[in-house]
């Protein structure tokens, strides 16, 4: 598990993948390589983070070509990471574990947005917002703009607004079963609440989770059983 804060939030998923390969090599982590014409290290990531979004809890799986000592590894890797990246926890996973992408299906975000004037009763507006049967957004795809309902992908949402600062905390769906983007939640909420944004928003992913049988746990907790 690692953090992606500060300027690191501006790296795209692809740029971050490259960064990890090189940093792990600098830390002398013995990466297992794929076979074939163009061998590459076997590293897999949790759900991709949009450019500009920070995160307190990202995950990556690294396959090694030999067993190594875990004690001190975190410090060794952290000494080789660019500003903004930091490993928080390392755990060993069984060789045949499912890839992260396949199991992670929940993401929690806080969204900070300056607005012109706060609404008086943000709690009521939030209730009404969540009371909607359908929340439609427009999404650009390769085949053009498509309409999509994201209501069923929003599991919880809290909003506060004070001194022109709107803060939303929301738990949404992510992963292969469907993906709700934090920017989409913000934009529909601003529209619904009739709030006028000033300047760019600041989004932080607080966590990635796995929902199994109605229980939301972290990927590391899944590992611990």
């Amino acid at each position: 598990m690692f953090q992606k804060l500060d300027t690191a939030r501006f790296l795209s998923h692809l740029e971050m993948q490259q960064m990890w390969q090189r940093s792990l090599r600098r830390a002398k982590v013995p990466l297992a390589m794929s076979k074939g014409f163009n061998p590459h290290p076997k590293i897999s990531f949790g759900s991709a983070l949009p450019v500009g979004v920070a995160s307190l809890a990202e995950y990556l799986d690294v396959e090694l070509r030999e067993n190594i000592e875990l004690t001190g590894l975190k410090e060794k890797i952290n000494a080789c990471l660019p500003i903004g990246f930091k490993v928080i926890k390392i755990a060993e996973i069984p060789p045949k574990s499912k890839p992260l992408m396949a199991i992670i299906n929940r993401a929690e975000y806080t969204i900070e947005q300056r607005v012109k004037v706060c609404s008086d009763d943000i709690a009521t507006i939030t209730d009404k917002f969540l009371g909607q049967e359908v929340i439609t957004i427009e999404r650009e795809t390769k085949s053009g703009t498509k309409l999509k309902d994201i209501r069923s992908g929003i599991f919880s949402l809290k909003a506060q607004c004070a001194k022109s600062e709107l803060i939303i905390t929301t738990l949404v769906q992510t992963g292969s079963q469907g993906n709700v983007r934090p920017g989409e939640v913000l934009n529909t909420f601003l529209g619904f609440a009739n709030l006028e944004p000033i300047g760019p928003e600041k989004i932080t992913r607080k966590g990635l989770f796995v929902n199994v049988n109605g229980k939301t746990v972290t990927p590391l907790e899944v590992l611990e059983g």
């Binding site: 501006f10 960064m19 163009n38 061998p39 500009g52 660019p82």
Partner: protein
Amino acid sequence: MQNLKQYIQDEILVRVEKPARYLGNEWNSIHKSWDKDKIKMAFCFPDIYEIAMSHLGMRILYGLINKREDFIMERCFAPWVDMEQILREKNIPLFSLESYRPLQDFDVVGFTLQYEMSYTNILNMLNLGGIALEREQRDNDSPLVIAGGPCVYNPEPLAPFVDCFLIGDSEELLPEFLEVLKKHKMGDWSKEKFLAAIKTMPGIYVPKFYEFKWADSGLLQEIIALDDAPSQVKKLIITDFDKAYFPTDPIIPYIEAVHDRIMLEVARGCTRGCRFCQAGIVYRPVREKSPKTLYEQAKKSIENTGYDEISLTSLSTADYSSIKPVIEGLLEKHAGEGIGVSLPSLRVDAFSVEIAKEIQKVRKTGLTFAPEAGTQRLRDVINKGVTSADLEKAVKGAFDAGWTQIKLYFMIGLPTETFEDVKGIADLAYKVLEWGQEVLKNNKNFKRIKVTVSTSSFVPKAHTPFQWEPQNTISELEEKQQYLKSLLKDRRITYNYHDAKTSFLEAIISKGDRRIGKVLKRAWELGCKFDSWSEYFKYDKWLQAFRECEIDPEFYAYRRRDYDEIFPWDVIDVGVTKNYLKSEHRKALQEALTHDCRYEDCPGCGICNRFGVDLEMFRGEQSAY
């Protein structure tokens, strides 16, 4: 500049494409405190991050200069158009990546001149950085604007804008230059006195001390050196290349650069003597690094970068005396860690394919050969010592070793070229197909055979035997491109070619003079920038700039020069004599070859005896021949 940095990161970076271009805190980037008595230089590359970060020269100078406690070097690149628009809207000056300081806060703003089509970006960056374009408009406290790099051997088109040019190997020149600057900055700073003092330093060209007189015909009549400036500026070269500084901890770009790997320079200079090639002349003599040095530099680079590929770079890496043992040595040491070795280009011969086979044990890529011309006659004209038999051996060897895609590079518009020579390119492409079919007759890869033909248009360059030659006109080039296209109809052959209009401008600027500076400025005012990006190249604006400046572009590109004509770049002494270039030009027209002095007698180009140098080579047990 904390405030500017915070503001840009909070408010602006979310609005631009690829914001990681502007962060400046990559791994191995160097952030120094801005003390008053340090000399601060911005290294400017007039193109975007991904291209700039591929540049070996910057890696060398950034490491070398920052090693010195009393010097600071930071990077500054051309912002992409979206960023530029925001900077202009919000009135934010162009800033360096490390400390986010405006260009105008530096003592020295230095540009690397990699290609002529980046010159409008230089003007744009100066303007964005709050620095007046013309050197005469800048006051005593404005930064010194300097330039170096391969295009500096004809500095004149940029003479109105640049205070001084560094001619030669900058790892020797730049520290000396900054040293003198430091002494001057410690006293009462006078830019005028400083420029006067350095005008006699080896390798330094200060354009304000040179007056160019033109006849009514437009021809250059005389170059007058003023105030005891040397009549010719000799380039400065490092002689003990093996011991020269080389960076083993380059900055690791956040965004994939065009060349995103360890670049290990095995040699500088080339003795092949291809007559169209400017680098082959201006980087003489050949200086090689010892295998021992290369192994040490490779090991450190791998540890410090985390890269998984080492590119052995030079103008012609297969010519490096110990190339085979060095590749074997590197693979033996590092292949186990998943590190591959690559070469930027291959010679057209069986030996190169041998080497390629060695390398591809780790990683497979395409194979590219550059015969440059389609017929033996024309290859003799350009002194490309390659025969059809060489190509046959190389190509068959490649197919035999498992490659199925061969790329071939050619130039069109070379001196004396006829349509027969152009047809020769197509004939060669078909021959390569045939050879592939022959080798892979009963092979499952038979259907995968592919040949890509790429042509660039010949640009006659300063300091080459072809500097007297006119360029083909745009319509001639386009006609040849279309003719070749009509001949390459097989679906297994792909044909790519360059825009002839860009080549036309390149020819004008690369053989241009001070008067072209006016055109550059006008073109920039009319909105020209990123000229090497086809989507931003505005040919009509360039033509308008020429018209408004009353300068005939064809005078520069299409005119055959006389042997006794004085060239603007004659003010620079690259070591190779003009007489030698003349004799090479004559030999070209006679289709006569000049052999490589590495293997045969000295043809007398002049560099070794005139500069008191010699070829520096380390022959391994398995030399190329």
